[in-house]
């Protein structure tokens, strides 16, 4: 019976996160448009998109992996989200975080990416592997500063358990990692730019180069799933960052505010910079953020 309640809570949690994530996407589109001087789509445009794409009559599949790719992707988003305790102290939003720690979450991020890459690969379209190759490469580079930051956090709180990390940041705003180890946060936030794949790191979807990238062959329901996941996954990542670096959240409102501002960083940077070429992007991540990440570790160990 316990497990059923658990599942029920998880469903609620997921729906909230998805809705939030999608809305956030809409808001961001709006912001972008305003920065560009356009009117922009309505904030609920993502919901419309999902329903619309799902409703497409033509639906084609290139094979079993192609079919499963979006499922993998969505499962990856779901899993990432479900292994994070979203709201500190909340039973409903604790999800399945007891199954593992921060490492689990970090690696579950790969689950969806790998599955999606496989599905896209079977699509047979040349843009898919191009995009994937870029994506994987970039992922490996921003993973380095991010992991350094995570290690710094783990050293600082002597734990990899997200709940413990959040708990340690409670009490005062000065307890946030943002203030106790700013280097780690800087490194991680730069990584987040890469993770969110906004410009200047929008290599994968790069519209002018390899239109849409990996999901180029995805259509109808497959695309709908991917779009849904985009919302959920964004929310999951933001929540993770919030937990690690910004003191977590004790209720939904704080969560929404905090994650919004975290996301805003990416958006502002994205709106301001043009896209890197792949090797520029890789070099960038392997240079400054990595050095900052190393400094963050040195900082936490020796100071």
């Amino acid at each position: 019976m316990d497990i059923m309640i658990k599942i029920l809570y998880a469903v609620i949690s997921v729906i909230v996160a998805t809705v939030y994530g999608l809305t956030l996407g809409g808001v961001v589109q709006k912001i972008y448009a305003r920065v560009h001087g356009r009117f922009g789509p309505p904030v609920w445009q993502p919901f419309i998109d999902i329903i619309k794409t799902h409703g497409k009559r033509v639906s084609i599949s290139h094979g079993i992996m192609f079919y499963l790719g979006p499922v993998f992707r969505f499962a990856g988003g779901l899993g990432t989200y479900l292994f994070i305790p979203v709201i500190y102290g909340s039973v409903v939003f604790a999800n399945f975080s007891m199954a593992g720690d921060l490492l689990l979450v970090m690696y579950f991020i790969f689950f969806g990416q790998l599955g999606m890459a496989l599905g896209a690969g079977e699509g047979g379209h040349p843009y898919s592997p191009l995009g994937i190759a870029r994506g994987l490469s970039q992922m490996s580079t921003f993973e380095l500063p991010f992991s350094l930051a995570v290690i710094a956090v783990a050293i600082q709180y002597d734990s990899l358990n997200i709940t413990t990390i959040v708990a340690a940041q409670q009490g005062s705003i000065l307890n946030w990692t943002l203030f106790t180890n700013p280097f780690a946060v800087i490194a991680a936030m730069i990584s987040l730019l890469g993770m969110n794949m906004h410009s200047p790191f929008s290599l994968v979807l790069a519209p002018q180069e390899i239109p849409i990238g990996p999901p180029v062959e995805m259509n109808s329901s497959f695309l709908a799933i991917l779009q849904t996941n985009r919302g959920l996954f964004t929310a999951a990542k933001l929540v993770l960052f919030m937990n690690l670096f910004f003191g977590g959240a004790t209720n939904l409102l704080i969560m929404i505010v905090k994650t919004f501002f975290i996301y805003l960083v990416s958006v502002i940077v994205g709106a301001a910079f043009p896209r890197f070429r792949p090797e520029q992007s890789f070099r960038f991540f392997l240079k400054w953020p990595t050095i900052i990440g190393i400094i963050s570790i040195i900082f936490i160990v020796y100071f």
């Binding site: 007891m98 720690d101 690696y107 890459a117 496989l118 490469s137 002597d158």
Partner: protein, 1038 residues
């Protein structure tokens, strides 16, 4: 019991009369000739038997009715008998080898040959210095004359150079003899008192000994000998290299008691110098016989050094070391010279022709292995004991010279071997002609060397038969080789099973764990080999040899047993790798690195304190306080085998070029032998932590191996090379985890070892299946095979998920353990690098699965079928294994926890399926269920909502609004991560490969440089000799 003086008498009488006998036909003279030679062998063999078995005391023979010192006396003791037995035997066999020549040529050749052998007997037995001179001259003159048995310009000029050099040497010998008489009033060795030599009387001894030493061809005063080896008839060369050398080395041995210690030391060093330089110069040699000449000269140097350095050791040891080197060199060299005479190819590159004659190839291989000092041949034992002796005497420069020289020797000998096995058959192709007599002699010698090996193993060491199971396996399967491959495969499987059964009751669970990896892992991998068709000569023998030596590593009770198993493992895996189609270079690289590692281990084991308990080494070593140097040497040795960064360059070649069903053994199991060794070092280390924290640096090396391996894997086009680099990277993780030296660290290392064994076997077998069907390993030539080979795809899919560490499969457990242990240990930066490596690994993993199975199917693969059943079975087994420990990690974590608990206090709490470390937790079972849930739910939703999906043909894609032209242009696979490589810039250069390449070039340039002292001018050679004498004299400094 025949008085050995009859050897001299009979040979002489026959020699004098042969030309008369020849008047009545060559048949009679041949009969006389061969019966005298045979008679010699029997007489000496009889005496040898008496001395060794019956314990008869040394025989002294006086002549002229007076006793020494009035008359000349001969002496036959066990040493003389030993030398003479082999000299006479070689003489007889070489004569048989030359029978065709003897039938045709002038009767003088028989006379000369007979008296040559007589001279050797006299030289060895006589105790009188001047008499030695006479016999030396008899020996020399007959040899000079015989150098032109095949008369051509080359042999003539070589013979002339030989004569002048020999003449100069004998002049000095004569001077030495008379001055010895002048100073002591005696010529008989037994009556000369070394203390009679006053200060400048030493010059007499110096002249005497330097002359003998020159005859032993020291570097650089040995150019004449090389020319002789190169140009003279192979049969005669074998006699010169073996019989003459044996006699002269014995002369040296006889006069040794007269020599002052400082001169002995000089000669010892000179011997080692000779060994080192002749092997160095051999590197560049392309002429087969001259190469053997270099090797021969080197071996003589080694032999001299061994005699000098062992002189104060117990008899048994002297017999083992000097006797070992002696017989080893003698037999192998004679045999190889004979084979060069059979093959009749001057240039080594033409020796590919040998592979058309399997029998000869086996003989060649055995002799070459013997010469290289590979177990069980006598040279191995001699080298082991000799190095031990030298190391205990703290003569590290000598050790270094000998081992480096040996390594050079390994390089050129095995290069030759790989050419013989894999080289091209020369286009103008006179077949190797069959001459019974030549084959006969060579075969006999191979038989003898094997017999001696057995004798050494039986009488000098008390090994139990289990230690020799690897060899027995090869021999048994050699005789069963006619059976079809499949049956042999099944038999091997059964044999491995039985072996495992006997091996089973281990003393510790760590052994059991590695036993499972080695034996069970091998057994499952054998299934894939059942796909082989036809007979597959020699495959299963060496496969079993390798598997049995894995097992023997576990139960080895002494350093020697361990090293023995290690060497068996190396040589068997070398042969297996060499079986690959283009494995010539790869296997050579492998054996060179392995040997270098083995030599380091040899020094390490020699330095290690004696074991105090009678348990298996891995247990016994925990009580041993290994000095730091030993730890370092052993660790390097083991890390070479596990392909750590810097010494990894053999690894991709070997993995890639081995036959595709051999690669899983090498990657999944062989590398673990190095891991096992590192554990062994670690077990001693944790109980006796030295001041220098070596494992900290090993940790860094492991971490860097992981990242570099991952990058290199990402840039490969060849599927097997990709997997090879992946193995390197994964083993880097393992090595780094061992280096942590904590509970969690070792737990991760063991966990990952087991995991790696399973997923890498599965991956390699899957690729083997793909290769079997598509006949290519180049990934961009494939694509879209998922529809043709779905099972293989699933296997690869599970494999790469397990490698990558993505939950919910077992790989995540490894990652979790590793990061936890690194952070717990405080190795933060290392952990960061590992994170990076793990992210990079996605690159190659995706590349592997995508370029082969996804994307566009090529036209030529339209009709490809699923991999054969024999490939699928092991893959399924491994997949089940991976799934099982993913779902129920306790299955493996619990036992590993208790194994590592023997060495460290447990740092994890296992509660149900939940594993908690000091940092976090991991519940594999729950993750699995959650993952399944979140995967299945959307899937069901998708299936329900998306019923209208239609599957389209593969080419039905939207590509810039046009239809693509062909799968080749549409399948993005070639140089997939070009941008990454660009981003890495200078970091992407193959520096390590370049380093080794440069090292190789340098060694060869040096070789080329040094050998230019051999100008070919006879006069220069004499100048070398004179200068050598002068220089040694000044070094000695009377």
């Amino acid at each position: 019991m025949v008085n050995p003086i009859y050897i001299i008498i009979l040979s002489l009488a026959a020699g004098f009369l042969l030309s008369i006998f020849d008047k009545s036909g060559r048949k009679l003279s041949l009969i006389v000739f061969y019966s005298v030679l045979t008679f010699n062998v029997f007489v000496i063999a009889d005496w040898f038997y008496r001395f060794t078995v019956l314990g008869v005391s040394t025989l002294t023979i006086n002549t002229a009715g007076f006793s020494a010192p009035l008359s000349i006396n001969l002496q036959l003791g066990i040493q003389e008998a030993f030398v003479l037995l082999f000299a006479n035997l070689t003489g007889l066999l070489a004569a048989i080898y030359l029978i065709k020549k003897f039938k045709e040529s002038n009767i003088s050749s028989l006379v000369l040959y007979l008296i040559l052998i007589m001279g050797v007997n006299g030289l060895v037995m006589t105790r009188d210095l001047f008499n030695m001179f006479v016999f030396l001259e008899i020996l020399s003159i007959s040899t000079f004359a015989l150098t032109i048995l095949t008369k051509n310009k080359k042999s003539l000029s070589a013979g002339f150079k030989y004569m002048i050099a020999g003449g100069v040497a004998s002049t000095f010998f004569l001077l030495g003899v008379v001055f010895v008489y002048y100073f002591t009033g005696n010529l008989n060795l037994d009556f000369i008192n070394p203390s009679d030599f006053t200060n400048y009387g030493l010059i007499a001894i110096f002249l005497l000994s330097i002359a003998v030493f020159i005859e032993l061809k020291p570097f650089p005063a040995n150019g004449w000998a090389l020319d002789v080896y190169e140009s003279v008839n192979s049969g005669i060369t074998s006699v010169i290299a073996v019989v003459n050398s044996a006699a002269i080395i014995f002369v040296f041995y006889k006069i040794m008691p007269l020599l002052p210690q400082n001169l002995l030391n000089i000669f010892g060093i000179a011997g080692v110098v000779t060994f080192f330089f002749s092997n160095l110069m051999g590197l560049k040699q392309t002429n087969a016989k001259r190469l053997l000449g270099y090797s021969s000269i080197g071996q003589m140097g080694l032999l001299v050094a061994s005699i000098i350095y062992t002189i104060h050791s117990p008899n048994k040891l002297i017999y083992l070391i000097v006797g070992g080197f002696f017989t080893n060199h003698l037999i192998a060299k004679a045999g190889l010279f004979w084979i060069t005479g059979i093959v009749k190819k001057e240039k080594i590159k033409d020796w590919g022709i040998l592979k058309e004659n399997k029998f000869l190839l086996i003989l060649f291989g055995l002799l070459l292995f013997a010469l290289s000092g590979i177990p069980p041949f006598p040279g191995f034992w001699a080298k082991w004991e000799f190095i031990k002796l030298l190391v205990h005497g703290k003569m590290f420069f000598v050790v270094g010279g000998i081992l480096l020289g040996s390594l050079f020797e390994i390089v050129f000998l095995f290069r030759w071997f790989t050419i013989a096995v894999k080289g091209e058959v020369p286009s103008e192709n006179p077949k190797i002609s069959f001459e019974f007599s030549k084959y006969f002699s060579t075969t006999i010698f191979v038989g003898i060397t094997l017999t001696i090996s057995v004798v050494i193993m039986k009488y000098f060491y008390d090994f139990n038969w289990f230690q020799f199971l690897p060899l027995i396996a090869v021999v048994v399967l050699y005789f069963l080789d006619f059976i079809p491959s499949k049956i042999k495969g099944f038999l091997s499987l059964i044999a491995v099973g039985i072996y495992g059964y006997f091996l089973y009751p281990f003393e510790s669970n760590l052994q059991l764990f590695f036993g499972i990896i080695f034996i069970v892992g091998s057994a499952i991998n054998i299934i894939a080999t059942l796909n082989r068709k036809n007979i597959n000569k020699g495959f299963y023998g060496f496969l079993l040899m390798m598997i049995f030596s894995f097992g023997n590593l576990l139960i080895a009770k002494s350093y020697l047993e361990f090293f023995l198993a290690w060497e068996f493992m190396t040589i068997s895996s070398f042969v297996l790798i060499l079986r690959g189609k283009k494995a010539q270079k790869a296997s050579l690289l492998y054996i060179i690195f392995s040997t270098a590692g083995a030599y380091l281990m040899m020094i390490g084991f020699s330095l290690a304190p004696n074991l105090t308990s009678n348990s298996a080494l891995i247990i016994a070593i925990s009580n041993i306080n290994l000095p730091i140097l030993v730890t370092v040497l052993l660790a390097i040795g083991f890390m070479i085998k596990s392909g750590s960064l810097g010494v990894h360059i053999w690894l991709p070649e070997a993995h890639a070029e081995a036959e595709s069903d051999v690669s899983p053994f090498i990657s999944a199991i062989l590398l673990k032998a190095g891991v096992f060794g590192l554990f062994m070092v670690g077990i001693s280390y944790i109980n006796h932590v030295p001041a220098f924290d070596m494992f900290y640096w090993i940790g860094w090396i492991g971490v860097l191996t992981a990242i570099v391996g991952a990058f290199l894997a990402s840039f490969q086009e060849d599927a097997k090379r990709l997997l090879a680099y992946s193995s390197m990277s994964q083993v880097g993780y393992i090595v780094a985890s061992i280096a942590i030296l904590s509970h969690l660290g070792w737990l991760s290392a063991l966990y990952l070892s087991f995991n790696h064994m399973m997923f890498k076997s599965a991956l390699f077998i899957a690729i083997a299946g793909v290769y079997y069907r598509t006949h290519t390993r180049t990934m961009y030539e494939m694509g879209g095979l998922i529809k043709k080979m779905p099972l293989s795809f699933i296997s690869v899919l599970i494999g790469i998920i397990a490698v990558s560490g993505v939950p919910p499969l077992s790989g995540f457990g490894a990652k979790w353990l590793i990061y936890s242990s690194f952070i717990e240990r405080g190795w933060y930066l290392q952990a960061g690098v590992l994170f990076f490596a793990s992210a990079v690994s996605f690159l190659y993993l995706y590349r592997l699965i995508h370029t082969i199975f996804l994307g566009q199917l090529k036209y030529e693969h339209q009709n490809v079928k699923e991999a054969p059943i024999w490939f699928l079975i092991p893959q399924v087994i491994f997949m089940v294994g991976i799934m099982a420990i993913s779902m129920y990690p306790n299955l493996i974590i619990q036992p590993l926890n208790s194994i590592v608990g023997n060495y460290f206090n447990s740092s994890i709490i296992v509660d149900g399926y939940n594993i908690t470390s000091s940092l976090g937790n991991w519940n594999g079972n729950m993750i699995m269920f959650v993952t399944m849930g979140i995967f299945v739910v959307p899937l069901i939703i998708l299936v329900l909502l998306n019923g209208r999906t239609q599957t389209v043909k593969q080419f039905n894609i939207v590509y810039a609004a046009e239809r693509p032209e062909s799968p080749q242009t549409t399948h993005i696979a070639y140089n997939m991560f070009a941008h990454y490589r660009k981003a890495l810039g200078g970091w992407g250069k193959p520096r390590i490969w370049n380093f080794w390449h440069e090292t190789n070039e340098w060694a060869h340039s040096l070789s080329g440089l040094f050998r230019q002292i051999y100008t070919g001018n006879g006069q220069t050679y004499i100048l070398h000799i004179i200068l050598y004498i002068v220089v040694i004299y000044f070094i000695m400094g009377v």
